[in-house]
Every structure is written in structure tokens, then in C-alpha cells.
């Protein structure tokens, strides 16, 4: 029978649409209204100090749209007036300084693409498969092009004293978030960023200015950055002692586990992105990243790890940025056990979840970069499972 989508006149073919004055700041098609950040209500006491998740299963390429970048706040979204915002540098410096946003705009800037992953991404999966969807298992990540000032330039402007070995960035929100960062990292590749993907930072991402700490856990990327203190020792504040430390099986915890290990996940097919077509040509896709470099290679398996295939990486390969991979295959309609395995530019290979548990036990919460498995059944529906 002829297709009514062709034979019948559709309303958008007949009637006029909105004019150029109707949507001065555009938003996605209303048919995409399901593509949103989501949170897991039982996870935290209150949405004001909580996290939501990037809908990875709906995205492609390597850049995360600003409105879909996952959010993690400890005291809600600070709505900072940029004209009343100041950045102070104090502590072990020759000259403590205060910058307005206008001052900051006069420093040289750089544009760089980095992933930001929360150390707790996949943390709910330490003890076993728990959440059905890569949005929930892997969605505490986004990948953005930042425009910012190399932090080194600002620190040099204040003049770091020779005994200045650590910095402590601090946020202007009601949690006054702080972390300790060694001076080597601060001088190496950190940015004080004010733009994301070309536009001003979103309020939920630290408007008007945030710290970018490439490859290191997201909690260190202080939002609403208002102060940087230079000191001779770490501060051991709440977020680097009671949180963001990795408790091992023997009751001892690792601290200062800053780098994010190489990791990958298949975003489609996945529980929220089932195969909706019959057998035949099928596109498998996913993302991979490493806090220690680039991703030269991703392997995928369709049979739970009996046989592996090298996936095709498409799109720019930047240092400490998300990479996009594809594997095209003909689905024969039988169940699949899908996994992806990232290799990073240091030679590190993403481990299985059990290999990680052998070293760390199940109580770490943070830094779970184990290989994810999706079971796809005959109907094309996918489920989060673990396998032998």
C-alpha cells in the first residue's frame, strides 16, 4: 500500500511555520522532548545536593550539547551575577590579586575539548548490575569544548612562591566547594574557563567561570570559581577525605586518586536504545575516553567476549577527550552479549569488572571503569547484565 506519509498532505507542508522572531534562543524539536537529563530519586536525600545523568544513548559524535551535560551540585545551582563575581588568588604568592570578569577577558585564551567524568560514574554498579540504561550506568560524563585562560598565566600574574606546592580552588555556591590540587597539574594544563561549546557556561556548569582539570575526576573542576589559594600542603577537606577516596577490601582507602582510567560503553544498542528493526544491517556505537591520553583503539564483542572485533573510531581524537566508535554488523536476530574494551595511548586496556574487584573489592564507590555488558534478546531489547 502506498505510504500515507507520502500520499497525504502533512500539516507542515501546507501551513506556515514560526517566523525568525519566534525562537530567539532555539530549543530541540518537540519530537525530541524525551532527550533529557534524568536523575535517580532514591540515590540522594535531596535534588539540591544530587546528580543527574547525560542521555548518552541519544547522542552521537563527541560533543555533549550544553543543555544535556550532567549536573552535580552540592547546594543547588548558584545563580551568580557576573558583575558581582570576583576571582581572588591568595596564599603563598608574591602579590594576592583580585580579578573581575572583565579583567579575566583580557588574558590570552585557549580552546580545548575535554571530557569531565564524575569519579562516581558507574559507582552504583560496583556490587553488581543495578541500573538499566547507559544514561544511569555511565551518564555522569560530558565532553565539551572549553574556552579559557591557562591557569598558569593567572598564577604567574600573582607570582607563586617557591614553597607553593598546592592550590585550593573554591566555589562561590552555598557549599563553597574546595579541593586540593598539586601545583604541577595547575601549571600544566588546567584552564579557568568561561565558555562551553562557544557560549557562556550554563549556570549549572559554573557560570560565569569554572576550573577545568583535564583527565581528573569531575569533583575537582570547581564551578562558580571565586578563589584560588596557594599553599605548601594539601588541605584534606571534606571532598578529598570523607568523599572521593576509594575504600579497599582491607579497610584502607586510597586517597588522591585523581586520574580517570580508560573506559568505554556501548550507547546503542543499550537498554534505553533497543534494536527496533529486524535482522540485517545494524549500527553499534559507543564512546571511549581516558584521563591519561587519547584512545587509539576500541574492541567490541557480540558474543560475550569469545571473539572481539576492532571498532572504527570516527571524529577528532583529542587528548583527554571522548572518542566515538562504531561497529557495523548484520544482526541475525539471535541474542547478543555486547561489550566494548578501550585501549588508551599509554597501552592501558580497560579491565573487566571482576578484574577491578579482585584488586579493590566492592566498597570503592568511585573509579569503576570496568567493561559493561548488555544482553540483547531476540526482540532487540537490551538489559544490563554481568557475565562469566
Amino acid at each position: 500500500a502506498p505510504d500515507p506519509a507520502i500520499t497525504e498532505l502533512q500539516p507542515w507542508m501546507q501551513y506556515l511555520g514560526d517566523g525568525v522572531d519566534a525562537r530567539p534562543y532555539g530549543s530541540p524539536s518537540r519530537f525530541e522532548s524525551h532527550v533529557i537529563r534524568r536523575n535517580v530519586e532514591w540515590l540522594t536525600a535531596d535534588p539540591v545536593s544530587s546528580v543527574n545523568f547525560t542521555p548518552l544513548h541519544e547522542l552521537d559524535g563527541i560533543i555533549t550539547p550544553n543543555g544535556l551535560c550532567f549536573e552535580r551540585h552540592h547546594a543547588g545551582i548558584a545563580e551568580v551575577d557576573p558583575s558581582a563575581h570576583r576571582l581572588m588568588i591568595n596564599g603563598l604568592v608574591d602579590k594576592p590579586l583580585v580579578f573581575t570578569m572583565q579583567d579575566l577577558m583580557r588574558f590570552p585564551r585557549e580552546n580545548r575539548v575535554y571530557f569531565l567524568e564524575c569519579a562516581a560514574n558507574s559507582g552504583m554498579e560496583w556490587a553488581g548490575a543495578q541500573l538499566n540504561g547507559c544514561q544511569y550506568t555511565h551518564g555522569m560524563i560530558h565532553n565539551v569544548q572549553y574556552t579559557g585562560i591557562p591557569l598558569r598565566l593567572l598564577l604567574e600574574e600573582a607570582g607563586v612562591k617557591t614553597n607553593g606546592k598546592w592550590i585550593m580552588p573554591e566555589g562561590a555556591d552555598a557549599s563553597a566547594m574546595t579541593r586540593s590540587i598539586p601545583i604541577e597539574k595547575a601549571m600544566d594544563d588546567c584552564l579557568v574557563a568561561f565558555k562551553m561549546n562557544g557560549e557562556a557556561l550554563r549556570p549549572e556548569q559554573g557560570y560565569p567561570v569554572r576550573l577545568v582539570v583535564p583527565g581528573w575526576e569531575g569533583n575537582m573542576w570547581i564551578k562558580w570559581l571565586r578563589r584560588i589559594e596557594v599553599g605548601d600542603q594539601p588541605w584534606h577537606h571534606r571532598e578529598e577525605t570523607s568523599k572521593y577516596t576509594d575504600l579497599l577490601d582491607n579497610g584502607i582507602a586510597r586517597r588522591f586518586t585523581w586520574e580517570m582510567d580508560a573506559k568505554s560503553v556501548i550507547t546503542s544498542p543499550s537498554p534505553q536504545a533497543p534494536i527496533l528493526h529486524s535482522r540485517g544491517p545494524t549500527v553499534l556505537t559507543g564512546v571511549a575516553w581516558s584521563g591519561r591520553g587519547t584512545i587509539p583503539r576500541v574492541d567490541v564483542t557480540l558474543d560475550g567476549g569469545k571473539n572481539w572485533h576492532e571498532a572504527r573510531i570516527s571524529g577528532p581524537s583529542f587528548d583527554k577527550s571522548m572518542h566515538r566508535f562504531y561497529f557495523e554488523f548484520d544482526w541475525d536476530g539471535t541474542p547478543l552479549l555486547l561489550q566494548s574494551r578501550a585501549h588508551d595511548s599509554t597501552g592501558y586496556v580497560q579491565p573487566t569488572k571482576n578484574a577491578l574487584r579482585d584488586v579493590r573489592g566492592e566498597n570503592s564507590i568511585y573509579h569503576n571503569n570496568g567493561i559493561q555488558t548488555w544482553l540483547v534478546d531476540e526482540r532487540g531489547e537490551a538489559e544490563n547484565v554481568e557475565i562469566s
Binding site: 533529557i36 583580557r106 552555598a174 574546595t178 586518586t257 578484574a355 562469566s388
Partner: protein, 375 residues
Amino acid sequence: ETPPSPQAVFVTAANAQGNAAPEPALSPQPPVPATARDGGYGLGREALAEEIAAWDIDIRPDGQGLPAGSGDVWTGEEVFVEKCAACHGDFGEAVGRWPQLAGGMGTLERKDPVKTIGSYWPYLSTVWDYVNRAMPFGDAQSLTPDEVYAITAYLLYLNNVVEDDFELSDESFAGIEMPNAEGFKPDDRPETELAAFAGDVCMQGCKDDVRITMRAAVLDVTPGSDTPDTDVAQDTVEVESSAEPEPADDENAARTDAADEASADQRPDPELAAAGARVFKKCSACHQVGDGAKHRSGPQLNGIVGRSAGTVEGFRYSSAMEEAGANGLAWDHETLAAFLADPRGYIKGTKMAFSGLRSADDIAAITAFLEAQGD
């Protein structure tokens, strides 16, 4: 055999014609770094001593940064019960999913360890610093140094680190060692993991058989697993004002009609109430409404419109609020509007930390929203 990639074909063709091979399209232009200028940029200005003093509040394990002051366990208990217990419980045992602050000793090696100040935190300075910078939740940096010393002393007492006659001060601070001070080591992944998780990988015939050992569906804790997305999608449409309203499906239409009919007379304007639901997000850190609403750091607000002030059972009000109710204050449109515009101005001594709603529209909306909540 895999066919050559389009890139490879292109390069070969270019070479065949005797042209230089083009740069691979995927390799990005090497970035040119921004460099420092000799003598600096001369931007910004010197920070004044008063400005540094106002912001430099951080405390270190060696006590650097602590202001002069003191507080004892019993004072700490009073302050804690008044300002902290709504979330953390009177004894640090926690309410709901708010953090537990006391107990958990000896659980770090077990399944589901209980990580508290006593069982896990390595340094006392962290407690002082965090309480001082971020607590009470929603009223940060409102405590005096003596109150922070007192709360910290009470937390030490709850964790059996000190006796009930203890007083913490900037001087006694250095004498306190936390039980789990030795429980941490530096990141040792370079020694324990990086080499082990590297090297050649198997690609063919790597396993004989594969068993499924665990399924997420057994737990079924994924949000919206049975009713996918309907609520969320509707919210989005509502907020997006430029979008045309979705035609309501039959079921929704029926439900709305019935509700309208049932309470057409006394029901507040539903559109205004819906707007109020959005404004209420500012309140929801401390107040709950609706089915099963419980007291948080503020009382649950079901049926608040029309009720005497300070009279919801089971909530510990400020004496100022209780007195206001005893003196005849009841919540109607007018009194709520005055209170919400300036809580601490309208009832001096109220525990409500919220600074107030600036917009009269927001106040009208939230009143309509609260009015729509039953008892």
C-alpha cells in the same frame, strides 16, 4: 579482506597523480599555546587584607586558619539539635538518606561499610572547616566560630572520641587524633593496576562458554522502568512556552475534567498553582508537601493555608513561631505573602533560613500551590 578506507583511497589517488599527499583529515591543527608575557599582564588589583580575611576561611589538619574560640559538648548538643538534627538526627544517626555522622566503628572492612566522622574521617580540621563553610544546609556560613567549635565538640562526643565534659578550642584542637587517621594511603594504581591492565589482548576464541551471572532487572531500581518517560516528557512540554500544547489524550482529559468539576468553587487557579509548583523547588530542600510528606529541616506544609502558625504536630518550631501562633497568627494569603517576602523580618527569630521571595507573582503562585495541597 576489509576494503581500504575512503581516506586511504584518496591518498593513493593523489599520489598517483604526482601530487603531494594531503595531511590526514583527522589530525587536528596543532594548537598554539597562549604564553605568558614578561613582567605579567598587570591585570587585576591587589587583594586587600579585609577581603582576604572575608574569604580565606579554610582550615588545615595542622589547625592553620582556625579562629580563636571555644565550645563544649553540651552547648554543642543544643546547637546541633536546633540546627542540624532535622537532617542528621539528634545523635548523628541520620534522617532518611542524609549523611550519618556518628557510629560505624569497625565496619570499613565489611560489606556496606558505614563511613562517619568517627569511623572514617582522618582529620578533625575537615569537620570544623566543612561545618563552618557549608552548614547548616541552606544557611551556609551563618554559624559563629564558638558554635562551630561546640558542634564539632558534640560530634566528637557522639563518636566516643571525647567525654561529655570536653571543650574544644583553637588551643585544645591539636590534641585530638581521629580514630581512622592512619586509614589512608596514596593512589597506588601505578604499581597495583596500570601494568596489570595493559598488554596484548585475546581477539579470537577467548572463552569456551559464557554464562550470565547477574541481571539488573532482578533489582528493578531503574527510574521509570514501568511507565517510561510520560511524566518527564509532559513537564518538558509545559516549560517550553514556545511549543504548542500537546493535545491531551482521552485519559488525561477525563482526569482533568473530573478534578475540575469536583472542586471548581474553592480550587485555586490551576495554572497559578502549576507555576507555584516550580517556585516551590526553592523550598523543597526543607519542606515537603503531598502524600506522605514528612518534616525535614522545615515542617511539612500540607494544609498550611488557613492553619495557625507553628502548630503542625511533631515539628520543633522556633519559640518565635510558636508565640506568633499563640498570639493569633494564622496563614492566609496576606500573612503568607508578608512572611514569604521577608521571613526573618516578619517573624524575628524564625528558624526558616530562606531569605525571601522577591517577586509578588512568585508569592501568589506559591500560595495557590500550597492552597491546592490537602491536609
